[in-house]
C-alpha cells in the first residue's frame, strides 16, 4: 500500500468523527485531529480502534499518545505494518 492509499484509507476512517467538514476537505499530513478536524477526544479512541481493524495492526499506548495528527497516524501505521 502506498502513502496515497494509506491516506485515503485513513480519511475514510476519521470521516464519521469529523466536526469541521472544511478542514476535512483540505486534509493534509499537517492536519490535526483535534484542532483542525475538531474530533472529540473520546472519539480518538474510536479512530485508534478503527485503524487497528482496518490495517490489522495493534496500536500500543505509546503510539496512541502521539496519534494527534495525520502525519503521526501515517507514521504509526507504516511502522506497525513493517513489523508484521
Amino acid at each position: 500500500m502506498n502513502k496515497a492509499e494509506t491516506i485515503e484509507k485513513l480519511k475514510s476512517i476519521v470521516k464519521p468523527y469529523v466536526k469541521n467538514a472544511e478542514a476535512f476537505e483540505n486534509l493534509s499530513e499537517d492536519t490535526d485531529f483535534i484542532r483542525d478536524l475538531q474530533i472529540n477526544s473520546a472519539n480518538l479512541v474510536d479512530v485508534a480502534l478503527d485503524v487497528e481493524e482496518a490495517f490489522d495492526i495493534t496500536i500500543d499506548n505509546a503510539s496512541m499518545e502521539k496519534m494527534l495528527n495525520v502525519k503521526a497516524a501515517l507514521e504509526i501505521i507504516e511502522s506497525k505494518l513493517s513489523e508484521e
Binding site: N40, N43, V45, D46, L49, M64, K66, M67, L68
Partner: protein
C-alpha cells in the same frame, strides 16, 4: 493551575459506544475498568472517570507544554464526587458534578485552591497563545473552558487574588464552585 471538562451525556451516548470492544482498555487501567464495570451505572462511571482524566490532562498539558492523547497516564482511584487523579509524580484534586444531563469535573493542584475558583462569563475569557486567561484587577489568572454539546463551563483560578480582594466576587457570572448546587 486549573482544568475542567464537561460531558453532555446525551451527546456522549450518540457519539461514543463505550461498550465497543477495546474501548475501555484504551482509556482505563484494569483497576479503573473494574470500578466502572462493577458500578451501579457503568455508563455514568465511564464519563465520570473520563471527565476527570480530561480535566487533569489540561493541568498536565499547561504545566508541561506536552500535547498527547494519553488517558492511561492519568489514574483515578474511586468514583466519588471528589478524589485524587495521579499522573507521573503529580497529583491533582478533582470535584465532579453529576447530573442527569451532564458530568462536569474541575481539577486543581492544591486543596486550598477550591475557594479561589470562580465561574466566568464568555466575555471574561482572554486567549493568550491559545490558552484561556482571565484579567482581573491588573493581573492575568489562568482560566479553563470546556464545551461539549449543550454545555459550556468556564472557571478562573484567582490564586493570590481572591485572598487579597474579595470585592469583585459578586460581579462573577456564577458563584464559587463550593456553592455550585446541582440543578
Amino acid at each position: 493551575m486549573i482544568g475542567n471538562d464537561v460531558i453532555d451525556l446525551e451527546l456522549a451516548a450518540a457519539e461514543s459506544d463505550w461498550r465497543r470492544k477495546g474501548f475501555l482498555e484504551k482509556l482505563f487501567s484494569a483497576d479503573e475498568m473494574r470500578l466502572v464495570l462493577e458500578s451501579e451505572n457503568p455508563e455514568i462511571s465511564v464519563w465520570n472517570l473520563w471527565s476527570r482524566k480530561e480535566a487533569a490532562y489540561k493541568i498536565f498539558n499547561r504545566n508541561t507544554g506536552i500535547r498527547a492523547f494519553n488517558p492511561k497516564h492519568f489514574h483515578c482511584r474511586d468514583l466519588n464526587d471528589s478524589g485524587i487523579v495521579v499522573f507521573g509524580d503529580s497529583r491533582v484534586y478533582s470535584k465532579t458534578e453529576i447530573t442527569s444531563q451532564y458530568i462536569h469535573t474541575i481539577c486543581v493542584e492544591d486543596r486550598n485552591d477550591w475557594n479561589k475558583i470562580a465561574s466566568l462569563s464568555e466575555s471574561q475569557i482572554i486567549k493568550k497563545d491559545d490558552l484561556p486567561f482571565v484579567y482581573q484587577h491588573g493581573g492575568y489568572f489562568p482560566a479553563t473552558v470546556s464545551h461539549h454539546g449543550r454545555f459550556e463551563f468556564r472557571f478562573g483560578l484567582f490564586k493570590n487574588g481572591l485572598d487579597r480582594d474579595l470585592s469583585f466576587q459578586s460581579a462573577m457570572y456564577r458563584t464559587f464552585f463550593g456553592d455550585f448546587q446541582q440543578p
